[in-house]
């Protein structure tokens, strides 16, 4: 069918008119816009899109309901356990079994501790001072948030913050029973977690640490900074370094490491197989050697690090409280590799050949295995006034940390386990910790104008500001706080005077879906709505262009 010339001309004009009308004014060349403005003035007022009404956030409870009684001061099997004031506390039965030894506690305590009968075996008192000096600790290796051939969700799940589940490897105490809470649950049991447990032994103890490699890759145990022989008594490698001292412990196999440490101090242990990968996956923990004292029954395992609820005698002589603080940063592009494959041959290729730590960057920043806001559940330093608190700090991350306390100036008493001479001790509010460095801090509370400014809720965190984010979203990372008792509510939550913490307990916030000031300034800083008018214009423009194109084709083919 032929179109008559006149109607064709009308269509051409219509298409061009539509095109001109629909063309967004912002798209005109700048000079043309200036010229048009000089002729006709500005376009008429059109309001910007309304702010979007915030959706209801799905927020978790600040304080979970389970095991509230674990927080109380209590005596279990003769072990006096201090109260833990934050809302999530460690299992006191695990603490009691760690102090007395899993071979010395009653069946009931052992069952509730979650440990196997041989997890922490305490033997003879060799120096006759009233405490055991033969200590045998067994560690396993567990994978958290790993992959499965059954589903796409990670298995044995562990969240460092709402919705954040990086792939992790940890040394774990030898635990009896399942890895999960129960068969219906996808979550790891509460004692299977990051960080690897802090280990405490006494100066001069005969210590054996048996690594039962329950993981699917080779691992070893290296006692960084702790006095140990290069070989054991029977000539077996004892340094944990596959390059020089021994072959790695293969999956399903076990090896015992021995030491009788002569010097006290805050040391460190980690896997030394492909350490640039394995240590950064979480295979590292604090290894504390306490000074020898009579009747010094130590809390051999501090699961999850944090508050030491049964401090050593020498610590109690000077301090009111003691905390283990384990900092670790994580590269999301490393952790996800155990979630992308199920076959260990593919996993090892991905982790040990395709992953390049020299191109890495860190995304998550943990304190004792959690990032803010979860640090507020379990890693608060809760203080009374005029207290001295000992903080044992290790930085296990790939990058250094600039640890800063608000409201307080602490004194660094020891570096890498060694005492700093008192003339060199001074009050400071930032301490730099390079990778694997340890520091012991003397924190005084109260209100003397130098060491402490006043009671309150005072943050402490890595002052390199990426450390206060979860993959770039703040607040997050290793933020925690020194909280004075009067600022803590019954549940163990800080009585803050600032913004609501509720948004931070939603997964959406750390998925970057929630405007950061939405909770208190929704009209000002919410996401703006869509410009539907512009969308309509663009649709009309597209129709006009289509019309022009069609007419052109017809004109060309008609001529032929």
């Amino acid at each position: 069918m032929m179109i008559r010339p006149r109607s064709s001309l009308v269509l051409w004009l219509l298409a061009i008119a539509l095109l001109l009308l629909a063309w967004p004014p912002q798209w005109y060349p700048y000079a043309l816009r200036v010229q048009l403005t000089q002729w006709f003035g500005a376009s008429s007022y059109r309001a910007l899109p309304e702010s979007r009404t915030p959706g209801q956030l799905q927020s978790e409870a600040f304080c979970p309901d389970e095991n509230r009684d674990w927080r109380e001061a209590q005596v279990i099997d003769g072990v006096s356990i201090a109260a833990a004031r934050p809302c999530v506390a460690d299992n006191p039965y695990t603490i009691a079994a760690s102090v007395r030894g899993t071979n010395n506690v009653g069946h009931h305590t052992l069952m509730r501790s979650g440990l196997t009968p041989d997890a922490v075996v305490k033997g003879r008192d060799l120096d006759g001072d009233g405490d055991p000096d033969e200590i045998h600790i067994r560690l396993e290796v567990a994978e958290l948030n790993g992959s499965s051939a059954e589903s796409r969700d990670p298995v044995t799940q562990y969240a460092i913050a709402p919705g954040i589940k990086p792939g992790l490897w940890v040394f774990a105490p030898k635990l009896a029973g399942m890895a999960r809470e129960n068969f219906e649950s996808v979550w790891a049991r509460s004692d299977l977690r990051l960080p690897s447990p802090a280990i405490r032994v006494e100066q001069g103890d005969r210590v054996t640490v048996t690594l039962e490699n329950s993981h699917y890759m080779p691992h070893t145990l290296h006692l960084h900074g702790a006095d140990h022989g290069f070989v054991t008594v029977d000539g077996q490698g004892n340094d944990g370094v596959p390059l020089t001292s021994e072959l790695p412990v293969m999956p399903g196999m076990a090896r015992s490491y021995e030491l009788t440490p002569r010097q006290p101090g805050t040391m460190y242990y980690h896997c030394h197989v492909q350490p640039h990968v394995h240590v950064m996956m979480g295979l590292q923990g604090l290894f504390v050697i306490e000074e020898n004292r009579p009747d010094n029954w130590l809390q051999t395992l501090n699961v999850g690090a944090g508050q030491v609820r049964v401090p050593a005698v020498a610590v109690r002589e000077q301090y009111d409280q003691e905390y283990d603080l384990h900092y670790l940063d994580l590269d999301q592009q490393l952790g996800e590799r155990i979630q992308q494959h199920s076959d260990p041959r593919l996993i090892t290729r991905s982790m040990h050949r395709e992953y390049d730590i020299t191109d890495s960057s860190q995304d998550y920043f943990t304190l004792n295995g959690r990032s803010f806001p979860y640090t507020f559940r379990e890693s608060l330093v809760v203080a009374g006034e005029d207290e001295r608190i000992k903080l044992r700090v290790v930085n296990g991350g790939a990058k250094g940390i600039a640890l800063h306390t608000h409201g307080h100036k602490f004194v660094v008493t020891h570096a890498d386990g060694n005492g700093i001479p008192s003339p060199a001790q001074f009050a400071r509010d930032v301490v730099w910790l390079a990778t694997s460095q340890r520091a012991e801090l003397d924190l005084r509370t109260g209100n003397d104008g130098l060491h402490a400014y006043s009671p309150g809720i005072w943050l402490f965190h890595d002052h390199q500001n990426r450390g206060t984010t979860n993959d770039g979203i703040g607040p997050g990372g290793n933020i925690s706080a020194i909280v004075y008792e009067q600022y803590l509510d019954e549940e163990g939550w800080p009585r803050t005077q600032g913004v609501s913490l509720e948004p931070y307990f939603s997964e959406a916030y750390y998925r970057k879906e929630v405007p950061v000031w939405q909770s208190y300034a929704p009209d000002l800083f919410s996401d703006p709505g869509r410009d539907d008018w512009l969308l309509l214009r663009l649709l009309v423009l597209a129709v006009a262009l289509g019309l022009l194109l069609g007419l052109s084709i017809r004109a060309v083919s008609g001529r032929r």
Partner: protein
């Protein structure tokens, strides 16, 4: 706490929810007694590429209402478990029967299966042990369909990709070859038909 009720725990390991005499509902009597010797460890994964841990038997088939005595021997130096899930909760707290053996140890436990045809998950619930090979199934009667990812029985539900690392080039080449072959075949057949 139910954990404390039907449980044996010693230096060799533990057995939870052992039951050698209470019949599940619907069972008139014990239909049959089985004795299984199950071994576990790395050695039993040696014949399965990509597996690390394994069991001597990944599938057990028994009659409804039968009594099973399982002797579980751990050939490794780390803990392993032999756990059955999905059993009736009125008889087995948490719906499970659980044997755990320390490295090198042997533990024995007895339990009675219900009377209906059902396939039960059987595995080691240490982190990643099921995922790396220690998954099996206990088929009672005719069972209720195979579970996924049981060695020697069923495929993986989420199978890894085993295409070469430069798979785009390979896939392109493969597609070209296939298309060329298909065209050739069509042309050949068409030309034959024309001739005939």
């Amino acid at each position: 706490m139910w954990l404390l009720l039907a449980m044996v725990m010693n230096d060799a390991g533990m057995v939870m929810n052992a039951n050698s005499d209470i019949l599940p509902r619907g069972c008139e009597a014990i239909s049959r007694d089985y004795e299984f010797q199950v071994e576990a460890g790395m050695d039993y994964a040696a014949d399965a590429p990509g597996a690390i841990f394994g069991m001597s038997d990944h599938e057990l088939i028994v009659e409804p209402c039968s009594r099973l005595t399982v002797t579980f021997t751990n050939r490794d130096e780390v803990r392993h478990q032999w756990m059955v899930h999905g059993l009736p909760r009125y008889l087995y707290p948490g719906g499970m029967f659980h044997i755990e053996a320390n490295g090198g140890a042997t533990m024995t436990g007895t339990f009675i299966v219900p009377g209906d045809d059902k396939t039960y998950l059987l595995h080691c619930d240490m982190a990643q042990h099921m995922e790396k090979g220690m998954k099996g199934q206990l088929v009672v009667g005719r069972g209720s369909g195979d579970l996924w990812s049981v060695k020697g029985v069923s495929d993986a539900f989420e199978r890894d990709s085993y295409l070469p690392a430069d798979s785009y080039r390979w896939l392109g080449l493969w597609a070209l070859l296939g298309i060329a072959a298909g065209c050739g075949a069509a042309w050949f057949m068409a030309s034959r038909r024309r001739r005939s």
